[in-house]
Amino acid sequence: MKRVLSFTLFFALFLTSVAHASDIQLEATVDRNKIALGEALQLNLTFQGTQNVSAPSIDKIEGFDARYLGPSTMVSIINGAVTSSITHVYTLIPLKTGVFTIGPFSVQAQGKTLTSKPITVEVVSAPTGGQQSTPGQALQEPTPTKIDAEELKDRIFLILSIGTRKAYLSEFVPLTVKLYVNRLGVRDIQLPEIETNDFSIEKFGQPKQYREEFGGVLYDVIEFTTNMFGIKPGDFTLGPVKLKCNLVVRRQAQAHRRTPFDDDFFNGMFNDDIFNDFFGRYEAYPLELKSTEIPITVLSLPQEGKPEGFDGALGNFQLNVEATPLEVKAGDPITLKMTVKGEGNFDSIKAPRLQSKDGFKVYDPQVKQNENEKIFEQVIIPDSENITHIPQINFSFFNTKTGQYEVLMHNSIPITVSKANEAQARLIELPQAQVKIEQKEELGRDIIYLKSSPGQFRKIGRYLYQSLGFWLFQILSLIIFLGILIFNLRQQRLITDQRYARRLQAPAKAKRGIQESDKLLREGKTQEFFDATFKTIREYLADRFHLPSGGITAITIEELAKEKGIAQEVLDKIRKIFADCDMARYAPSQFGQKQLEDVFQALKEIIDYLEKQKI
């Protein structure tokens, strides 16, 4: 809040200081120069540069009755420049016909005496201008009619002006068209048109709008500007310039003024200019304005003194040249920036010329045009390291002011060029490489080269699966597998199945027993022989039939023989061995060698028999 307040204060002080610093001027204007009795004239006293002036009291003006209406203030800020003004508005009512002079007015303001210009006003007895009509006409329904420009010539008109009446061929000449309007509604203003075959006229730019006093009357001005140049020598007439617009005219305005007791309540009530502007009915009338013609002489360029290399540049110019970089390798680009500044026809300017192009590859310059300058950027590439400077650059033009040709010269620029390597030299051929869009690389295609080694030769049509060795290997693997599997299974059974284990062990044990008996038999140890034989037969039978070895007797053998179906003959042999062994314990001497061998033989036969039998 504080900040806003201080800003406002600062702004107010700023305005005041501006007002004090500015020059104060007084301007007196009227809204028209011709007025009929019964009408009112508006007088404006405008103080430019201040708002701090009170309404001056106007002495009685001859022929008018003056009445003060009030002040109107204005502050405008244009491009940062602040101007302020106050206008005191008076109404002057004519008292009699004749030509009168209003003013000059002298006003004391801020210690200065300001004086306005006098204004001449004619007062006639009848109403003037486009509002002339009879009551009978006014009562008729108005029809849109083309308004005669002659009638309005003081209120709306065109003025054509050019910078010079004598110009050289292609020399730029400024052309201005001003539309003056006084208290008229104008709309749909088109750009001015000039019919000519002798001049080239550029397009009109955006028009400027301002107020201008002309002959004591304040006009709204619309200004169109452009440039033109002559395209052939000779004496010509330019114009007239034509401008089309629509005039906005109030309908039935006169009828109401003439009949104050009209039924139309509103029109009667607000029969004032300001209110009519809002509530009156308007119609647009097309209007074509014409200016006066202007004579102009177009001169051809003199042949004498025409310098070599003159490209038709007209005006007054300066030339500036910069080169970067100044130290390069051969094949590297140097950019020359050539700036032409000044006034004139920039369209006629072509690039300044290098006096010599020897030892350089020179590319077309890139052109950039600004207001009042034209920049040429030219790429030059020194071919070799022998180049020591950029040649002199010349620019010729015809100075339209002096009527003389002029040549601007820029001295040669020393540069240092070092030797290029191959890669850089190649760049010379491709200065556009930077802007070139890289294209997809096209690769060649062909078959890949031969194999240098034959690889592993093999017999045609012989495959591994057809080889006997392969299958033998597989079968062998399977056999080994099965062998291991069976072995494992047997081992497992030996651990878990005692009957099986004893049955399996029986023949081996018996074999060892037989060997032992045989040994004792040969040694003639009868007692030990019978012990060993008895032990062998008893253990064999116990293992073979899964019985406790201590429980093997002649009786159990007989039961077993019946159960297992052992042959009687074998049973008898078993019984006999058992009986012989029993007897030998008590009377071993009664057994001769022959009997011992029979016992041994019987033992072997029994075990053989029982091993062969699936019992």
């Binding site: 194999k451 034959p454 592993q456 495959y463 006997l468 599997l485």
Partner: protein, 256 residues
């Protein structure tokens, strides 16, 4: 005693080993010389002589992936696309993982006049074929043999190492599955032997019937691959990759 038994097995295995390697080392210096000579002829641009030299090795009853590759190159350079593709195909049976071969084969196929037909087979079938495409018959056979022995070992492991029984059985099941898959693949590969063919003439008309006057069903171009379904008299019944079948004359295709 057990150690002694294993020793015997080892000796037996060593005894049978030469049966395997017998196939692999069946070459001699004369054939290697012919191969090198052929390479020199090729370099000189004498493709006919190079082909002659290479073929002399084939006539000796020997073959190799590189030999067929080089023969393919010779025919390619001679402009005989069909024969080139035929030899590349033969090489693919022996060295299916060779990148150079794959490149040349694809390039040669891209030059076939009628273009190549995309396979009409379903995705699982194509996947199945691709699974075994990079394996040779011998390679697959060897892989199966390894699977087989691995299965036996894993069964034994499950018996001898009771704590690992479960894992060993899972492994056995997995190996068994691989074995079956490989076996089917191998059977497929073997069944295609001498059943595939390449068109070796510029243009061959496949007819509805095995006779000269029969209507032409479709046209085969140099280098196209077909499957030989049946052969009779002077005609082959061939099936194109888009499953269209027709009869072509002997000599228009080379089977491999």
């Amino acid at each position: 005693m057990r150690v002694k038994r294993f020793g015997k097995i080892f000796i037996l295995a060593v005894f049978f080993l030469p049966f395997f390697v017998e196939i692999s080392f069946a070459s001699n210096n004369q054939d290697v010389g012919a191969f090198n000579r052929a390479n020199v002829y090729y370099e000189q641009g004498n493709f006919d002589e190079a082909i002659k030299q290479y073929k002399s090795i084939v006539e000796d009853g020997l073959e190799s992936g590189n030999l067929y590759y080089n023969l393919g190159n010779c025919y390619f350079k001679k402009g005989k696309l069909g024969e080139a593709i035929f030899y590349y195909e033969k090489a693919r049976r022996l060295i299916p993982q060779d990148k150079d071969l794959e490149s040349n084969y694809e390039y040669a196929r891209s030059l076939i006049k009628g273009g190549t037909f995309s396979s009409q087979e379903s995705f699982p079938v194509r996947l199945w074929n691709n699974l075994f495409e990079k394996l040779t018959i011998d390679g697959l056979t060897l892989a199966l043999s390894i699977f087989f022995i691995s299965i036996l070992i894993s069964i034994l492991a499950s018996l001898f190492f009771a704590p690992l029984k479960k894992q060993a059985l899972i492994l056995t099941a997995f190996l068994g599955l691989c074995f079956v898959v490989g076996l089917i693949g191998l059977k497929g590969k073997i069944s295609r032997l001498n059943k595939e063919a390449i068109v070796v003439v510029e243009q061959a008309d496949a007819k509805f019937e095995p006779m000269e006057k029969a209507t032409t069903y479709f046209t085969l171009y140099d280098g196209m691959k077909v499957e030989v379904v049946e052969s009779r008299d002077n005609w082959h019944k061939v099936k194109r990759q888009d499953n269209k079948s027709g009869w072509v004359r002997y000599g228009t295709i080379s089977t491999f």
